[in-house]
């Protein structure tokens, strides 16, 4: 059994409290809206109220603002933003700023600055805007039809990219033809709004004297934002400093630079004053990337014994009005990860990324893998239902076994380590210990559902990012320094966004250097201070890639201090140990030189071994050798009210393996938050568009997210199979909670009400939608 071991003597694996929480809980955090700079003024963004058209008039002459920039001025002063994830043959690879052609409600067309936000909004109302409207399309399948309105008429189609992942069509069809049974379904994943508690925001401050632009930004990727801002504003990279203060969540939506953020920065340069813009919640519903929104025509082929043979899907992904920074990336990853933890002789996916008159879609916790799990795990349960076998047994039979790892999927994923069978078996044992509610109302049905997944975490390696067309480096840098007073400073290009990375990086450094946790400070998020990070905190990579770098840097620094201490004690470094802050020669307790004294003398350059450099700072650049593949299995017990259509989750269980766990409490928190967002997708969340592609869910009154009362207490079991190729053995832990949760809840609903199982193909399973399914299935004979 590989249940995560307790390591009482070690800070790695310790349930230590998060170092930032006291500050945040006391209200002493500093988010972008808490940044106040002398002379600061306030911006609002002028956004298109129509979904498709041409802006004929933008006349700000009577608006009375300090500054109003329209599309032409913005376009003239900026370069377009380059998309970083490019599919083969992708027809559009950059996003224009100040485009007079508007393609979604919320598209930024101008910026207005005044002494207060309210005054800026007053001024914006006085701008004369005149649009010629064009026909609209919001649904990707409608956008594929002949005669659909075209967003880029010169293409003659709305398809921005059309490519395959995994086996070619011929191979897939041949495998399906050999299958004794093929389960085929149209499965839909709704459009999701990331909804971090803190919306986006920037304070941009141009220093005309230094010729430097400082931008406080609520971002997961400060260096990415810096690079793209500099390019867009025709500055050198070093002229732009991006500081990401405390982040109130991002979930993927803050992984790049948005056009409106460039406009605010441009306004600061024009005015020579700091300018603040905070995205409001209504704006967030149309101005920040959405996610998911894919239709899968999917097939699972198996032999007569239920052994899986092939899996395939035709993915029609809604890109929105233009490819976002990551464009078709999530749809591609849905294909790459479609096989999940199971053995297939063939797997292949066709991906079409389709433009529509909606907000662009991009990264959100799970990044294509939640969609893959939805498709695969629903198909598996449907297969079990058709075969009349237990869905857990069907999974166990088809899972890649521990002794088959490493394993390369037909979609070219090199699964590294783990025991998927162990995780699901352990989960089933946990579920079997539950207490089944005893009330016997025949109008309440109960069922348990399962879902399993393998997860792509710890992006890079850089060469892999090149292969998939992701134009960012995948390495990460850790800088660890022991200052002359013996205190420790860790810096990395990854970002804290509420996930607790400041704590876990400190745990690693303290553990490797042998100092108490309180001695370590972690500084992140400032491009003037933190080492370069192309990718930042995305893709469950902060601990894997950044933590790997900090692990190696800390070990190298510890070795150096040991060498110096040994020299000062005239001993061999191999005989030196650090006990209670004092370097000692093993077995000679009377000897000793304090950790702080080694630090002080090294920064003086005194008493060093020959050839040893003064100073105690190590920089390690970590390029991982492979993706690291975390995995999880989930189970949900639900009650379905046949008359109201309400689904109530009565129990939820998770087994999770993210390699070496640095802090089980933080990983539990990641799993819990991830499951909560998965439950949101399962039962509540869906962004919708109505007539003329007008968004119809633009506040939390219409777009529901789960509240704490809607999320059950979770039972979480950890197993621990270290990543063989990552220093420290960590794998990513950020997304395994979200990925299988919607399919798991839906499988439980299908188990509870087998009469509708074949129709559970789309989320959210809201009461209104559930009631329709139950009604169509004839379950309302009784009043």
């Amino acid at each position: 059994m590989t249940v995560a071991p307790e390591r009482p003597a070690s800070l790695v694996g310790a349930r230590v409290r998060r170092v930032n929480d006291p500050r945040l809980l006391r209200g002493e955090g500093r988010y972008v809206d808490d940044v106040h700079v002398a002379g600061m003024v306030h911006a609002t963004i002028v956004r298109s109220p129509i979904a498709h058209g041409v802006l004929r008039t933008f006349d700000a002459s009577a608006c009375g603002a300090l500054l109003a920039l329209g599309p032409d001025e913005i376009a003239a002063a900026t370069r377009p933003l380059q998309c970083v994830w490019l599919a083969e043959g992708q027809r559009q690879t950059e996003v224009l700023l100040g485009d007079r052609r508007v393609r979604y409600v919320g598209q930024p067309v101008g910026v207005v600055v005044a002494l207060s936000r309210a005054a800026a909004e007053d001024a914006a109302e006085l701008i004369e805007l005149d649009y010629d409207e064009l026909p609209t399309v919001a649904d990707q399948e409608q956008a594929l039809r002949d005669g659909a309105p075209l967003l880029q008429p010169e293409w003659g189609t709305n398809v921005a990219a059309d490519f395959r992942v995994g086996d070619d069509a011929e191979t897939v069809e041949a495998a399906m033809a050999r299958a004794a049974r093929v389960v085929e379904r149209r499965l839909v994943i709704p459009r999701i709004v990331p909804s971090p508690m803190e919306t986006r925001g920037v304070v941009a401050s141009w220093d005309a004297n230094l010729r430097e632009l400082t931008v406080w930004s609520s971002t997961q990727t400060p260096h990415h934002v810096r690079d793209h801002l500099a390019t867009s504003l025709r500055l050198s990279a070093d002229q732009v400093r991006v500081i990401a203060p405390d982040l109130g969540g991002g979930f993927g939506s803050k992984e790049h630079l948005y056009p409106d953020e460039v406009m605010v920065s441009l306004a600061s340069m024009r005015l020579g004053r700091p300018v603040k813009w905070i995205e409001d919640r209504v704006e967030h519903f149309t101005a920040t990337m959405h996610a998911r929104d894919a239709v899968h025509y999917a097939r699972l082929g198996m032999d007569e014994d239920g052994r899986f043979v092939a899996i395939a899907s035709d993915v029609i992904g809604n890109l929105g009005a233009h490819p976002s920074n990551v464009g078709t990336g999530p749809f591609r990853i849905s294909g790459s990860m479609l096989p999940g933890p199971y053995r297939f002789s063939s797997a292949g996916v066709r991906v079409r990324g389709v433009l529509t008159n909606t907000t662009p879609t991009g990264a959100y916790r799970g990044f294509g893998m939640q969609e893959a799990a939805w498709v695969r795990e629903r198909l598996v349960d449907e297969a079990a239902r058709e075969l009349g076998v237990d869905p857990v047994e069907l999974r166990l039979m088809n899972m890649v076994r521990e002794d088959e790892l490493p394993h390369t999927t037909p979609t070219l994923q090199d699964y590294d380590s783990g025991d998927y069978v162990e995780g699901l078996s352990m989960l089933r044992d946990m579920v079997s210990k539950r207490e089944v509610p005893s009330d016997a109302n025949p109008r309440i049905r109960r069922g348990v559902g399962y879902g399993s997944q393998v997860e792509f975490t710890g992006l890079g390696p850089s060469p892999v990012q090149k292969i998939v067309g992701f134009h960012l480096g995948g390495f990460e840098t850790g800088v660890v320094r022991v200052d002359p007073d013996g205190s420790v400073v860790v810096s990395s290009g990854v970002m804290g966004m509420g996930q607790g990375i400041e704590t876990t990086l400190a745990q690693i450094a303290a553990d490797k250097l042998g100092v108490p946790l309180e001695k370590v400070r972690v500084t992140l998020g400032d491009t003037k201070v933190a080492p370069y990070s192309a990718s930042g905190s995305i893709a469950s990579r902060s601990m894997t890639v950044g933590g790997g770098a900090v692990t190696r840097a800390s070990i190298a620094l510890s070795d150096k201090m040991r060498r110096i201490a040994a020299h000062q004690m005239e001993a061999d470094a191999g005989d030196v140990e650090l006990v209670d802050g004092v370097f000692r020669v093993k077995g000679v307790p009377s000897t000793g030189v304090a950790f702080g004294d080694v630090a002080a003398s090294t920064w003086l350059g005194w008493d060093l071994p020959p050839g040893e450099e003064a100073g105690l700072e190590v920089k390690d650049m970590h390029e991982p050798a492979n993706i690291s593949y975390s995995y999880s299995s989930h189970a949900a017990a639900v009650a379905v009210d046949l008359d109201t259509g309400k689904v109530h989750i009565e129990g939820y269980w998770v087994t999770h393996d993210s390699g070496t766990v640095i802090n089980p409490m933080i990983v539990d928190g990641q799993v819990m938050g991830g499951v909560a967002q998965g439950i949101g997708i399962a039962l509540y969340e869906k962004m919708t568009y109505g007539e003329a592609a007008q968004p119809t869910t633009t506040s939390f009154l219409d777009y529901l997210v789960p509240l704490s009362g809607d999320v059950p207490d979770l039972v979480i079991g950890h197993t621990e199979h270290p990543a063989p190729h990552i220093p420290g053995g960590m794998k990513g832990a950020g997304e395994g909670g979200t990925i299988p949760a919607p399919a798991t809840v839906a499988n439980a609903v299908a188990a509870a009400v087998p009469e509708i199982a074949g129709k559970v193909l789309e989320t959210p399973l809201s009461p209104g939608r559930m009631w329709e399914l139950l009604h169509e299935a004839g379950l309302h004979d009784r009043l």
Partner: protein, 287 residues
């Protein structure tokens, strides 16, 4: 998302407030708890010239329980009624219904007068008022008038309040000898209900001697299910009768579809909720 410019007036007395309404009632929005108005202001969907803040009118912030009613001043916070022992003992349906309005922080601010005056067609308290045959007190400089719920609620967000009038109180009659029950179906606890139902039952030896049922969420204002009420009287509450009444309730309403569900779903919900509230021993809902 900041309000457009408005003039802010916060009088210290009811007379002063009414004077503002006499002069500028057409152009004024009245701020009490602000739980609905402030989002509307921030989204610039409400654009009053004058914002009349009545939160200093302490005389509207009291309630009293008398022999035949609970009279609630317009400025009484929902949470205070919800936690009041005398109200709980006298009219328990009121705290029960209030417990479904938003969340504790919202109920700490929201006022009974504001909730009723806003006239959201799915809101809880208008339905309670309808079931109890309650009324709303309005005052202007020219006097006070009391409108029955049926006169007061006109349509979606629309009441019979004149621009120069202020809702000063809400009267919930006590139905002695009746058992008043509340139930609702919402997507999450605290959301506006898809359908809410208040039902008052009077029984004598297992025979219904009176029934009142009011639903919200099924029309542009609260509706009384009069066909159900008439059909129930004189019958004993067995499964067949409950099924019959639930069927009548479904036929009695003509709801509109929206993002929460179809018209058919809402019609069925009215019947489902009625049958469950009449026979709670038949089973709880899933949530």
């Amino acid at each position: 998302m900041k309000p457009g410019a408005f003039e802010y007036v916060a009088p210290e007395s009811l007379e002063a407030a009414l004077a503002v309404l006499t002069d500028r009632g057409e152009d004024a929005s009245i701020l009490s708890g602000g739980q609905s108005l402030l989002p509307l202001l921030n989204m610039r969907l409400a654009r009053p010239e004058v914002l009349l803040d009545i939160n200093r009118l302490g005389e509207l912030a009291t309630w009293e329980v008398t022999g035949d009613e609970v009279r609630v001043g317009a400025l009484v916070r929902a949470a205070r009624l919800e936690r009041d022992a005398e109200v709980l003992a006298t009219l328990p349906v009121l705290p029960e219904a209030i417990s479904h309005i938003g969340h504790p922080q919202i109920r700490n601010r929201t006022t009974v007068g504001g909730n009723v005056a806003h006239a959201d067609p799915s809101s809880e308290l208008p339905g309670v008022l309808a079931a109890l045959d309650g009324s709303v007190e309005l005052r202007s400089q020219s006097g006070t008038r009391t409108l029955s719920w049926d006169e007061f609620f006109v349509s979606v967000f629309t009441t019979a309040r004149e621009p120069e009038e202020l809702v000063i109180g809400v009267r919930f009659p006590l139905l002695r000898g009746w058992d008043v029950r509340f139930t609702e179906m919402a997507r999450r606890h605290g959301d506006f209900p898809i359908v809410a139902l208040t039902v008052a039952v009077q029984e004598d030896g297992g025979v219904l001697t009176g029934l009142r049922a009011a639903a919200t969420g099924v029309a542009d204002r609260p509706v009384r299910l009069t066909e159900v009420e008439q059909a129930a009287t004189g019958r004993s509450l067995d499964d067949a009768v409950i099924a019959d009444l639930a069927g009548l309730a479904r036929d009695a309403v003509d709801p509109q579809p929206d993002g929460a569900g179809s018209a058919e779903y809402r019609k069925h919900l009215v019947g489902t909720l009625l049958s469950r509230v009449l026979a709670p021993e038949l089973g709880r809902s899933a949530a």
